[in-house]
């Protein structure tokens, strides 16, 4: 059975920007039972707009958990065997401290919230693991931004995980991805309802901007082939084009729906902060410019890197680079490019080969 919990950190959380964040809350879900020796813990890190509702019903959308197909009794991440933890990232908006949380003056942080990094998110995860009495994870696993967290944990805290799996991830955010995310941030900040970030309690929020940001991002999660397959040039509930700017095409209607449903569960400022953390992510830069150096002390863990052939957002060479860096320092690493049609989102969808790899890697 899933359990929802919240932890208030006793100590301030040191951040890469130099600040220390007080009263940090971490909202998390757990599944399964922690073994007496705390040796069966698996930390799953969520992606940019994911949350801790890994395999439990989302409280706002009522939908199943985002990795319900992967996590549960008898599933590849078997909750009969493992104690599975998923925490909302620092900067998030589903209960963990983020820009919508109150600062010491009782007002929402808004843009006063410090700029955080992927490593800061990992620091928060580690504080949670400390509180749960977990010294060394059986595995840390994540896709996309979750994979970045897994890699950051492995590189910076080499003794905290025995297995590290990053799916559709990268060791440094590529320029193209920074670019797409900048479009999203600009869409939010160009919305007059954003009000320089201080929209909380005003009755107005940059819903239009956040919705456009989501639409643009969503395109990058799919593949040309899957979009063609799913929508083609088909029209939405109409026999002919309207000669207007309504959502004539199914793909337009779908994206609009994605945008609108996103605003019901996500905070625009969280989106700014989390995407900023991703664009700052560069593991090699943190370690003198050489990626292999980042993992030089981290050769005791086993690694598994998976990419998908249709993922153009975090394409295979990104994963391969990590595999080669790990190889260069002699870390036991596996890498494979799986074939799946769904683009970057493949890690969330029905790819049986991924199930097999995840189950096998954790065994």
């Amino acid at each position: 059975m899933p359990a929802s919990a919240e932890l208030m950190l006793a100590l301030p959380l040191p951040l890469d920007c130099g600040q220390r964040l007080e009263n940090v809350r971490i909202a998390y879900e757990t599944y399964g039972r922690l073994a007496g020796d705390a040796g069966n813990a698996v930390l799953v890190c969520h992606a940019t707009t994911g949350d801790q509702y890994l395999a439990s019903t989302h409280p706002l959308t009522g939908k199943p958990g985002w990795w319900d197909r992967m996590v549960g009794p008898g599933k590849p991440i078997d909750t009969d065997r493992f104690f599975v933890i998923c925490a909302n990232v620092l900067g998030g908006c589903m209960g963990s401290t983020g820009p919508a949380s109150p600062a010491s003056d009782g007002q929402p942080w808004a843009m006063r919230f410090p700029v955080i990094t992927i490593r800061d998110m990992v620091r928060a995860h580690l504080a949670l693991l400390d509180a749960l009495g977990i010294a060394r994870l059986h595995a840390v696993i994540g896709g996309s931004m979750g994979g970045m967290q897994a890699l950051s944990l492995a590189a910076n805290w080499p003794d905290r995980a025995a297995r590290v799996m990053a799916i559709g991830a990268t060791a440094a955010m590529p320029a193209q991805n920074i670019a797409f995310q900048e479009v999203g941030r600009q869409a939010i900040m160009a919305d007059p309802d954003w009000q320089k970030g201080s929209y909380y309690g005003t009755g107005r929020a940059p819903d239009a901007g956040l919705s456009v940001a989501r639409m643009a991002a969503h395109i990058t999660y799919l593949s040309e082939a899957s979009m063609h397959e799913k929508f083609g040039r088909r029209l939405q509930d109409r026999a002919a084009k309207t000669f207007g700017f309504d959502a004539d095409f199914q793909v337009e209607s779908y994206l609009r729906h994605q945008g609108v449903s996103f605003i019901s569960r996500f905070d625009a400022n969280s989106y700014l902060y989390i995407t900023r953390a991703m664009s700052y992510f560069d593991l090699a830069e943190e370690h003198g410019g050489r990626l292999a150096e980042a993992f030089a002390r981290s050769t005791a863990a086993r690694y598994c890197l998976v990419s998908f052939d249709s993922d153009w957002l975090y394409p295979t060479p990104e994963s391969r680079k990590i595999a080669h860096a790990l190889n260069a320092v002699g870390a036991p690493v596996s890498f494979m490019e799986l074939s799946a049609p769904f683009g970057h989102d493949s890690f969330l969808l029905d790819v049986p080969a991924l199930d097999r790899v995840v189950a096998g890697f954790l065994a």
């Binding site: 036991p332 494979m336 080969a353």
Partner: protein
């Protein structure tokens, strides 16, 4: 190790326990698993087929998906005690370059390949005048992955020309070892242990 193909069993028997091994074209990881379990080796692999890589990962092995023709360059010099290339040399774009790479990455290399000069293959070509389709080489010329057929004599010429030392060689007919005499007639498979 009873399930191992004869050439792999031979390689496994002759690898010093506790060695670091890279098996290039490791398939589903049978040799790697045997080396890990029975010889206490740090055995890693490279394999082109992602689903076979997935099989290897499911066996707890560390395998990188890669193309032996392109991706060997990414392994550091002298990073393993043995590089293994079994039944793959004849499928490679640049076999000669591959040998150099094996001996750059490994202090020693095991290479096994089917011998195109085995008497049955010779007879088949002689009688039928067509590219042999035998038990050993079961695929037609237009579908075979073997793009660089070679014989034991060809291989010896190549290693000599590249200044490579043959430390040991084994010749197999079926599951049985045959002697070195007239091996180029009598052996279906050859296994060479090489060093610089």
């Amino acid at each position: 190790m009873s399930v191992l193909r004869p050439d792999l069993a031979l390689i496994a028997r002759n690898i010093v326990p506790g060695s670091r091994v890279l098996d290039i074209g490791c398939g589903d990881g049978t040799l790697l698993a045997a080396l890990r379990d029975a010889r206490d080796c740090d055995a890693r692999g490279m394999e082109l087929d992602p689903l076979k890589v997935a099989d290897c990962v499911a066996r707890g092995l560390s395998v990188i998906q890669g193309d032996a023709d392109a991706d060997l360059a990414l392994y550091p010099d002298g990073s393993v005690d043995y590089a293994v290339l079994s039944e793959t040399l004849q499928t490679m774009q640049h076999p000669a370059r591959a040998l150099d790479e094996l001996l750059r990455i490994g202090r020693r290399a095991f290479v096994s390949f089917p011998n195109f000069a085995f008497w049955r293959v010779r007879l088949s070509l002689l009688w039928h005048g067509r590219m042999p389709v035998t038990q050993l080489l079961p695929v037609t010329w237009y579908e075979t992955p073997n793009i660089h057929h070679l014989t034991i004599a060809d291989f010896r010429d190549l290693v000599t020309a590249r200044g490579i030392t043959v430390e040991q060689a084994w010749f197999l007919a079926g599951n049985a070892l045959v002697g070195g005499t007239a091996a180029n007639w009598r052996a279906e498979h050859a296994v060479f242990l090489l060093r610089r």
